[in-house]
């Protein structure tokens, strides 16, 4: 037992490797939230009038809403008036190419392992780097624009493609959707915009890297992905934040629109600062992610590896509106120390012959709480809907919790829905089997956990899979069940 404890100790005392921060001159909004601030943000970003009105409308709706309390998480309330809603590194005008970007900013991303220099990058991934409230740089834009693909920061999209933005903004996640979506609609600062025209297969992975640097700042980015008929795109999202004692709020909205025969694959490796081992600090990650399979035979696939954040509250969902459309959700959520995660998905079957698949793997260690909350809804006209859900939990340590809240609401007699869930710890017999074959206990645990999460990790694009596996190994090495 003492060996177990020492290994657990070592594991729980692991430091967060992206915990550093950089001091640079920033352009910041005053602290607080009111209509004036929203006008300030909108003016700062030189937004058209319709967007400002849209923001104000969202703000007024938000004022009438109350913070949701149903999630299985506990945290001190956030003083939303005590936050700064805009913070941007000071730059000399807008940079047209990489040479004009402040080298200090490039250095931040180099340190995170994200090279913004196209020559130095691996072929195949275009990056939009978002620091606090603004997008710093977007790579490979030229290559992509030849195919008609638009990949840029949200602010640029508002200026350059206002019609597209106007058409799709809020069409999947309306501003009235929930408390944090309304807040995001009012104050969102930047994010990525991606548009794949009809029949185009995006030749490289598109990626956004979010970094919170400033203190006392909320990050509210908005991502909008539009895949027209018969197009394909694979999109990656990564995130880190410095280690600070106070909690920071991250309330993003991601909207995906998939036309007929289009396919969108969205992968996230979420590694926000989870707080220290006593549960101090860390990011509150309250995110609304939703995709709509608007056309027939559309497909949206969410893959997420959740290792960070003090509190996670996130349900990437699919609205399967088109006939024969497919929704997928693959998730590995790891919680340690005092982390709390309440995550899952919603699959709303509206069209006929729609299919969905949910694979959720939770791993809880330390004193953390890990919940799966999901809904499979088959509407009355969704004939022959098919769903398979599997949510497994692995517990490490006797002070953590694993919870499952699956809602299955079926209103059509031809639906086939299966749900299964198991909760267990790593079996002593499994460890023993490995030990017998000369595999040390620590390696055996890594082996078993990797095997356990493999079904999800396999869904990740190559580069991400490597990062995710590293993260998993870092978080879980040596924890003996």
């Amino acid at each position: 037992m003492s060996k177990d404890n020492s290994i657990l100790e070592e594991f729980t005392s692991k430091e967060y490797e992206h915990g550093w921060s950089v001091n640079f001159e920033a352009d910041e909004a005053p602290i607080g939230l009111n209509e004036g601030i929203i006008q300030w943000i909108s003016a700062k970003k030189e937004e058209p009038k319709w967007l400002l009105e849209w923001r104000l409308k969202a703000f007024r709706i938000w004022l009438t809403m109350t913070e949701p309390e149903w999630a299985n998480v506990n945290y001190p309330k956030i003083n939303l008036q005590g936050l700064r809603y805009y913070s941007a590194p000071k730059q000399k005008k807008s940079a047209k190419n990489l040479d004009e970007i402040d080298p200090e900013l490039i250095a931040i991303y180099e340190r995170l392992g994200i090279s913004l220099n196209e020559q130095k990058r691996l072929e195949g991934i275009a990056v939009d780097a978002v620091l606090d409230s603004v997008s710093v740089a977007t790579t490979f834009r030229g290559t992509l624009s030849k195919l008609g693909i638009v990949f840029c920061s949200f602010s640029e999209a508002v200026k350059e493609h206002p019609d597209l933005v106007k058409k799709y903004l809020g069409s999947v996640v309306p501003m009235t959707d929930n408390y944090y979506a309304a807040l995001n609609s009012a104050v969102f600062s930047d994010g990525s915009f991606c548009y794949i025209p009809k029949g185009v297969r995006c030749p490289m992975e598109l990626s956004t890297y979010f970094r919170i640097n400033a203190a006392n700042t909320g990050q509210f980015e908005r991502t909008l992905i539009v895949a027209e008929d018969e197009s394909y795109v694979s999109y990656l999202e990564g995130c880190t934040a410095p280690q600070r004692d106070e909690n920071q709020l991250h309330a993003a909205v991601v909207e995906i629109y998939a036309g007929a025969h289009a396919e969108v694959k969205y992968s996230t490796v979420q590694n926000w600062f989870p707080g220290d081992k006593n549960g101090k600090g860390g990011i509150y990650n309250f995110v609304t992610k939703r995709g709509i399979c608007a056309g027939d035979y559309a497909k949206i696939s969410w893959t997420q590896v959740e290792t960070g954040s003090a509190v996670t509250w996130k349900y990437p969902s699919c609205i399967l509106k088109g006939d024969h459309s497919i929704g997928e959700f693959y998730s590995v959520a790891v919680t340690n120390n005092y982390q709390q995660a309440d995550t899952g998905t919603k699959m709303i079957h509206i069209g006929k012959n729609t299919k969905s698949r949910i694979v959720s793997k939770g791993i809880s260690a330390g004193k953390s709480q890990n919940s799966y909350r999901g809904q499979v809804q088959v509407m009355k006209r969704a004939d022959n809907a098919r769903n398979f859900s599997q949510c497994d939990s692995l517990l490490m340590g006797d002070r953590c919790g694993a919870h499952t809240f699956p809602y299955i609401d079926i209103n059509n007699a031809s639906a086939k829905v299966e749900h299964e869930a198991t909760t267990s710890k790593i079996g002593e017999d499994q460890i023993f089997y490995c030990n017998q074959r000369g595999i040390a206990t620590e390696d055996a645990v890594a082996l078993i956990v990797n095997g356990y999460a493999k079904e999800v990790l396999n869904q990740l694009p190559m580069e991400f899979a490597v990062e995710a596996q590293k993260l998993l190994a870092l978080t879980l090495e040596g924890s003996v069940g």
Binding site: I410, N412, A413, K416, A421, T423
Partner: protein, 422 residues
């Protein structure tokens, strides 16, 4: 916390309460006032809007008065082959002259047991309806099985319910079984007439060390009956609790069935069938609380839903931090037979201990086409083949009933339903 609505309609009922158990009644009343009748948004009653149903159908929120029950009525209501003991009730009121004297078991009115800790098992703060019952029940029945008593004959709780103006019937039971005792209860209600009424039932069961409590229940009341029941059981070390709940009818039925495993090596088994047609709506909420190490629970609920019926299943398993070495299994299978039938199911696990084996499974689907084809290829027509397969589907639960005459009776009812329906 649910929002308050229509409290006032029940306040009148609370005022009719007798004077005994004043501490428990006051506590329950306060608890009810803070909870109110659950509204549509309340998580626990999300799919069963009982407040609205009561508002529409229960015109007169007053206790339904007992009516005359004759021995002929009793005899004709008892299912064939039953040879056990009998306790008869009229609108919740115990009728000793029609009931059997049960050898070795103490039966008395709750009002004669002034020091009874009512509400200590089915706590009023957990459910608004349990609170209403505790605050305003007229009287109830106390049944005590002494230590080591092996009561071989089952005890049938036969309730006759009838209301002329949509009134409220509030049965209440306290059942305790001493260490090493074994006893079987069969709970059945008969509706007289088609008038709507609201049954708000509470049963508290207390099992000692190594007791075996069996509780079978058949819900086959009128299509306009509204019922909420709170049945909660505490069992100690080495004890076993088995329940089988068969729901065949009812306008809106909500069953809160809870089991607290308080001693190691205790075991809970909960089985259920809901076979519904018409506009019946049956909501089964089960709750197993593993508080100690080395306990086991099994749960299997099966639903067959035809016409515009609606089934709701919410199975909760709690495994507390100290409850290491817990084994908990839960399964819920459903078949929808019509376009308008709805199932809302939520198998829920909340686990705070690590050395446990817990799993749940849930399916919604149809009959296996290949199995149907197999039977048809052997000369069984499609309707019959379907009935046969559905019967087999339900059979897995039915066979858990150990009391043969009751099992045969339920079996016949289910066959009739499947035969006439499919």
């Amino acid at each position: 916390m649910s929002t308050l609505t229509k409290q006032d309609t029940f306040i009148g009922l609370l005022d009719t309460a007798p004077n005994n158990f004043s501490a428990a009644r006051t506590l329950a009343k306060e608890s009810y006032l803070s909870q109110g009748i659950p509204v549509a948004k309340a998580e626990e009653y999300k799919f069963s809007n009982i407040g609205k149903k009561l508002e529409q159908n229960i015109s007169n929120v007053a206790p339904a008065q007992p009516f005359e029950v004759t021995s002929e009525m009793v005899h004709s209501s008892i299912f064939a082959g039953y040879e056990g003991d009998l306790l008869v009730f009229s609108n919740g009121k115990f009728l000793p002259q029609l009931s059997s004297k049960i050898e070795g078991v103490e039966v008395s009115l709750i009002s004669e047991k002034n020091d009874l800790a009512i509400g200590s098992i089915a706590k009023p703060e957990k459910d608004a309806f349990a609170a209403i019952n505790q605050a305003s029940f007229e009287d109830g029945l106390f049944i005590s099985v002494p230590k080591k008593a092996q009561i071989e004959r089952p005890i049938l709780l036969l309730s006759f319910n009838q209301a002329n103006g949509g009134q409220v019937i509030q049965p209440r039971f306290w059942i305790e079984a001493g260490d090493f005792a074994e006893v079987t209860f069969i709970d059945q209600s008969i509706s007289l007439g088609d008038n709507s009424y609201f049954v708000n039932k509470v049963i508290e069961l207390k099992g000692g060390v190594n007791t075996h409590l069996k509780y079978y229940r058949l819900q086959n009341e009128s299509k306009s009956a509204i019922e909420v029941s709170n049945i909660e059981t505490d069992v100690q070390k080495d004890a076993r609790f088995t329940s089988v709940n068969i729901s065949l009818s009812g306008d809106l039925v909500r069953n809160n069935l809870s089991l607290n495993l308080l001693g190691s090596n205790s075991e809970g088994n909960m089985y259920g069938i809901y076979l519904l047609n018409g506009k019946s709506h049956v909501d089964n909420h089960t709750n197993v609380d593993h508080t100690i190490p080395h306990a086991e629970s099994n749960e299997l609920y099966k639903g067959i839903l035809a016409d515009q019926s609606r089934g709701v299943f919410n199975g909760k398993i709690f495994v507390r931090q100290d409850a290491q070495k817990t084994n908990a299994f839960q399964q819920n299978n459903n078949i929808l037979l019509s376009e308008d039938a709805i199932i809302n199911t939520k198998p829920q696990l909340e686990i705070w201990a690590d050395d446990v084996k817990c799993s749940h499974g849930c399916t919604v689907g149809q009959l296996d086409e290949e199995a149907l084809f197999y039977l048809q290829a052997r000369g069984i027509d499609k309707t019959q083949a379907k009935g046969l397969l559905l019967y087999a589907f339900a059979g897995e639960v039915l066979e858990k009933i150990e009391e043969e005459s009751f099992r045969v009776y339920c079996d016949t009812l289910i066959q009739e339903r499947l035969g006439s329906k499919f």
